[in-house]
Symmetry: C2
Subunit: 323 residues, 2 copies
């Protein structure tokens, strides 16, 4: 019987469940609401129902190796979701233990945070399949990262390694969501790009830019992308500046772990060379001579829509098959 | 027969050779001149003579497992010393291959850079013996580092991982020896402390400080230490400021790898709490809440005088015994 794994991607609004084959293809999928009032017991029941329904749908039948979960503030060692600011659960949710009780037949149930899940997905199914040392940066509402060294994801002492988004970039710079000033995430996340756009509008006093038509509340990184494609100078400069910041931050990650490549993942990567080129240029500018030109920045080869499920499922694929 | 390893520490002026037992004690040692005119062949012969002489001295006889070498710009994967600025050798020296030809009976001959050697020494013989995830910062003429994750030293794709001294600290800040402005090393190395002392003298216009008696060429970090111990305000502030810089830089390493502890190694650690306290305070200030208070900064438990030999020898001990 062919083998599959279940991947679960827990987001603030929806939880997406999919069954993934060994090629990293999502065979079937469904989604349920992530609880808005912290009801963990009902949530676990909903997950069980959905997983079993999806497994039933498989034709021909497959052997299900286990369940992998990607969640914000997911702790791999403890199998818990801990104090996730965008989820309604209070405190520490022992989700792996709760699911093990519901699925005693599964060989493995494991959980990690979203960025680590995406990193594993890239290693098992994506562009990093032959790499023992690489880095993934995920760009979105925040900036996450995953580090692979000596062929293994680095979890650190507590499961929380890979928080490169909170590396200091500009001492005493912009306020970061975590409360500390100057972190990379405050410059290179989607909201960071918006902040850069408003700084540039203010600097140039540019009333003609399409970006000048939107409020701070309303402007999105997608707006900036579309304006840049349409030739707007301010929007193009946002990508230049974001790349400069990102490359400077990545240089420290390269000095620390000497990866074969850095993968970029997330919505802003749709901009392609608009973001890759200035980032690569900046990275090489800030690298020690021995590293210059040796670390290509690549866009993730995972399908953006499926990546979270596929990444989560790869957590189990790695554990069960020791790939 | 009891087992020992040979450790070789290659410095710009002298090369120290020692025989180390499984407790990390140096049983016998000797030193030879590091060539000043790039004569590799004679150097290899000198090393052979010295190693054999030391092995002869051992009473009772021991089984020699191999030779470990710590060298500036040492490349673990290739067993080479590459473009080391403070050594007279030109280009790439294949030292491991040259020594293997001289010592065909050795089970292992391996080489790495000085900071990685010290890190392995801490793991095999020092304060990190029970740690799977830790970081070492070495403070001296430069700032080096070694990263251990999942129980293994991180070498990266090319053997050059762990160059945290060249992480960006203050964008557009002080010129670093590598030519890029703003690196940690330009602030937290021994020369970086001197630079801070001169900035502070300039800032306060302090003619009474004992530090005001020495030229920029002559002032050393030891002078700063002695003045601080004697109560000089400028010298004490140098340690405060150095600790603030160092802690800020370390925070990024913690976010990246989540270590159990950070070890400090090198001459400036003789200052003890003068440097540890402000560094720990700064580190905790710049860490994400989940990491605050979880990463103690500790002084290396390796004997400073023996550490380079012991660290180098531990490279072989780890390879041969898979400790």
């Amino acid at each position: 019987m062919k083998q599959v794994t279940v991947g679960i991607d827990i987001g603030g609004t929806n939880t997406v469940v999919g069954v993934v084959n060994k090629e990293g293809d999502v065979l079937v999928r469904d989604s349920i609401s992530t609880p808005q009032h912290g009801d963990v017991d009902q949530y676990v029941k909903d997950i069980k129902t959905t997983v079993n329904k999806l497994i039933e749908q498989l034709q021909p039948k497959r052997e299900v190796l286990g369940i992998g979960i990607g969640a914000p503030n997911g702790n791999y060692y403890r199998g818990t979701i801990e104090e996730a600011p965008n989820l309604s659960f209070k405190g520490v949710v022992p989700l792996v233990d709760l699911l093990k009780a519901e699925f005693p037949e599964m060989k493995a149930i494991a959980l990690t945070n979203d960025a680590n899940a995406a990193t594993l997905g890239e290693m098992i199914y994506g562009g990093a399949q032959n790499m023992k040392n690489f880095v993934m940066y995920t760009l979105g509402t925040g900036v996450g990262s995953g580090i692979v060294a000596n062929g293994d994801l680095i979890y650190g002492k507590d499961g929380f390694a890979g928080e490169c988004g909170h590396n200091m970039l500009i001492p005493n710079g912009r306020t970061c969501g975590c409360g500390i000033n100057g972190h990379l995430e405050a410059y290179c996340s989607a909201p960071g790009m918006k902040r850069t756009a408003f700084e540039l509008l203010a600097h140039y006093n540019d009333n003609e830019s399409p970006l000048a038509k939107k409020s701070f509340q309303d402007l999105t990184s997608k707006d900036i992308y579309e304006a840049a494609i349409a030739g707007d100078a301010v929007a193009k400069e946002v990508f230049e500046v974001t790349g400069e910041y990102l490359g400077m931050g990545m240089a420290s990650t390269v000095h620390t772990t000497s990866p074969e490549a850095i993968f970029l993942f997330g919505g802003p990567t749709a901009a392609g060379d608009l973001i890759i080129e200035p980032t690569q240029k900046s990275l090489d500018q800030f690298l020690l001579p021995i590293f210059k030109g040796t670390v290509p920045i690549k866009i993730s080869e995972l399908n953006l829509g499926d990546a979270a499920i596929v990444g989560a499922s790869s957590l189990v694929m790695k554990e069960v098959t020791k790939m």
